[in-house]
């Protein structure tokens, strides 16, 4: 039997009065792309620092590649790759020097690893003599990923690799991870962008140091438990408020050009809910509303799990 790539049990981390991780337990299977999805302050970076042996948990424990993150940290470090959220390479060294440095630290060379790093490195190769500090955000990201891969780790921890990156560059980064996955390493990645869930095999939704749920991204919808409809009208600005005042609305949140309305009744056909929502809006003077049943996405689920009214 193959042991999981990561197994964590009851992880707790406190910083003074603040509880950053409040008893996290989860398992990451070997070879999967596993995403931690949650806003800033959810505990993602703290968790990654524990899993990469850089921080000791106050309670609980974790094993990575079957090794204990506290007792076996030395053996573990050679086998994991870590790309921190903050750019952590040497800004005064060139692209090539950074890569050679990290390769040398791990007793390997760029040549030996070219098959793995090649596809990423080729994109930054034209700038190999440029100082790392003078690279654009997108190129820094590729260089950091190359450096994290240079010793051929069995598992890769990427802490918010796409934060602050535009929508096109984010998509390209995930395409890179897809290609990388064919070559083997388990990938554990964190992100505040809910739409990136679909690129993972499984995701953990995380908020305030707690896991709200773990599942395949497409499987959360089945647990939603309430009919969900998307409403569209030309009076975009007032739609959420108006729909929240509907007696059957459990919640109403803007999603792009529509408002997603969750019905508090659990046993209704979504098509009927759509019709009733339309009728309600018409009674309130909105004549051009369209409403259609939809499947809940990861962001609908996240909002529901956060608890209606937990923040606003």
């Amino acid at each position: 039997m193959i042991s999981p790539a990561v197994g964590a049990e009851g992880l707790v981390e406190r910083f003074g009065e603040e509880t950053a991780l409040d008893g996290l337990s989860f398992t990451v299977e070997a070879g999967e792309i596993f995403g931690f999805i949650g806003p800033d302050g959810a505990g993602k970076t703290t968790l990654f620092r524990i899993l990469t042996t850089l921080l000791l948990p106050d309670e609980g424990g974790a094993r990575v590649l079957g090794l204990d993150v506290v007792d076996d940290f030395w053996a573990l470090r050679a086998r994991i790759g870590y790309m921190p959220g903050r750019f952590s390479l040497y800004p005064d060294l060139s692209v090539g020097e950074n890569l050679r440095f990290f390769a040398a630290v791990f007793g390997t060379s760029l040549e030996e690893q070219k098959d793995l790093i090649g596809p990423i490195y080729r994109q930054i190769e034209p700038f190999r003599d440029r100082r790392a500090g003078a690279l654009s955000g997108g190129m820094k990201q590729k260089l950091a990923l190359s450096c994290a891969l240079v010793h051929r780790p069995e598992i890769l921890f990427l802490d918010e690799p796409t934060t602050g990156v535009d929508a096109v560059s984010r998509r390209e980064f995930w395409d890179l991870l897809d290609r990388l996955r064919e070559r083997g390493p388990t990938i554990v990645v964190s992100t505040p962008y809910m739409d990136e869930a679909s690129r993972c095999d499984r995701v953990a939704l995380i908020q305030d140091g707690r896991i709200l749920g773990v599942d395949a991204p497409g499987a959360f919808g089945a647990r939603y438990g309430h009919p969900l409809v998307a409403v569209r009208s030309s009076d975009r600005r007032h739609m959420p408020e108006l729909l929240r005042s509907w007696e059957h609305a459990l919640s109403a949140y803007p999603f792009g050009e529509t408002v997603h309305v969750t019905d508090r009744r659990t046993d209704l056909e979504p098509a009927r809910v759509a019709g009733e929502a339309r009728a309600y809006l018409e009674s309130r003077g909105v004549g051009d509303a369209e409403a259609r049943p939809i499947e809940p996405g990861i962001e609908d689920v996240f909002i529901a799990l956060m608890g209606a009214g937990a923040a606003s």
Partner: protein
């Protein structure tokens, strides 16, 4: 302070014509022209490195244009930069409040910077805390309050001197989905009160919340209109789809160049740390 066109200009919150900024032989902003009406929520979109930050720095009076014209709240970006700064509020994800000062101290500090009398700072500060439900946290360090609240507080503080125009640079980055939506309701309230909102974001669903948007690529504005107009004009289902099509003029893969679409050109100096604040 002579209006540089017909009377119609007087009513625009922002008007740019041929606005250009070069750094050496690199053109970061390449003759952009647009007009933002008063009370409008205008989304200013573009990929990293497209020139958004440089454009915002010119519009907020922090950087002098190389060519072209722009008026912001009826003040000229060449000569009246002090007047511009008094007429606008600015907030970004990276810089907004001083974390090692208390909530109340931040309000007093920014109120003072904007030249508000103490009495007005006390009044508006009290109302601001009440509106946010943050009265209990007035004496807390900003660093100790949750991020979502911090962003809403930063927004309210940027609005404290009741500016004509609010510049919001990625105000919702990293914020949870409920707070992110609450933040937009604050934006709408400000706009309904007549404030013009000029906002950038990497969340494409938020582009749909704007009255009008523009998409910048390689220093130019490649599309502008209401989200609905643009969806229809380009035959796309969402602004996300349009952004993917327009934001990167050249295919990134296979091209020997930076993935931000620049083939070996110099970095945009305006995106270096220590940007507009």
């Amino acid at each position: 302070m002579i209006a540089d066109g017909p009377h119609a200009n007087a009513s625009a919150a922002i008007e740019a014509r041929g606005l250009t900024r070069r750094f050496g032989d690199f053109t970061a902003v390449d003759a952009i022209s647009f007009r933002v009406e008063r009370g409008e929520v205008f989304g200013f979109l573009g990929a990293n490195g497209a020139g958004k930050t440089t454009a915002i720095r010119m519009l907020t009076g922090l950087l002098s244009p190389s060519a072209g014209r722009a008026r912001v709240a009826d003040h000229d970006v060449y000569g009246d930069t002090d007047a511009i700064r008094r007429s606008i509020g600015y907030m970004s994800q990276r810089f907004s409040l001083y974390e090692d000062l208390r909530v109340r101290e931040n309000i007093r500090l920014f109120g003072g910077i904007y030249g508000l009398p103490d009495r007005v700072i006390r009044e508006r500060g009290g109302r601001l805390l009440a509106d946010l439900g943050l009265e209990h946290a007035a004496d807390e360090l900003v660093a100790s309050i949750p991020l979502g609240w911090r962003q809403k507080l930063a927004f309210s503080v940027a609005n404290l001197h009741e500016p004509e125009i609010l510049f919001l640079d990625e105000p919702t980055g990293g914020v949870d989905p409920i707070t992110r939506r609450g933040f937009w309701e604050m934006i709408y309230r400000a706009a309904e009160g007549g404030t013009t909102v000029f906002v950038t974001t990497h969340y494409m669903d938020e582009a749909e919340y704007c009255d009008r948007i523009s998409i910048m690529a390689d220093g130019r504005i490649s599309a502008m209109g209401t989200p609905r107009e643009l969806r229809e004009e380009y035959g796309v289902a969402s602004i996300d789809e349009l952004f993917l099509r327009l934001a990167r003029p050249e295919p990134a893969f296979g091209a020997a160049g930076d993935l931000n679409g620049r083939a070996g050109g110099p970095e945009d100096p305006a995106s270096a740390p220590g940007g507009a604040s």
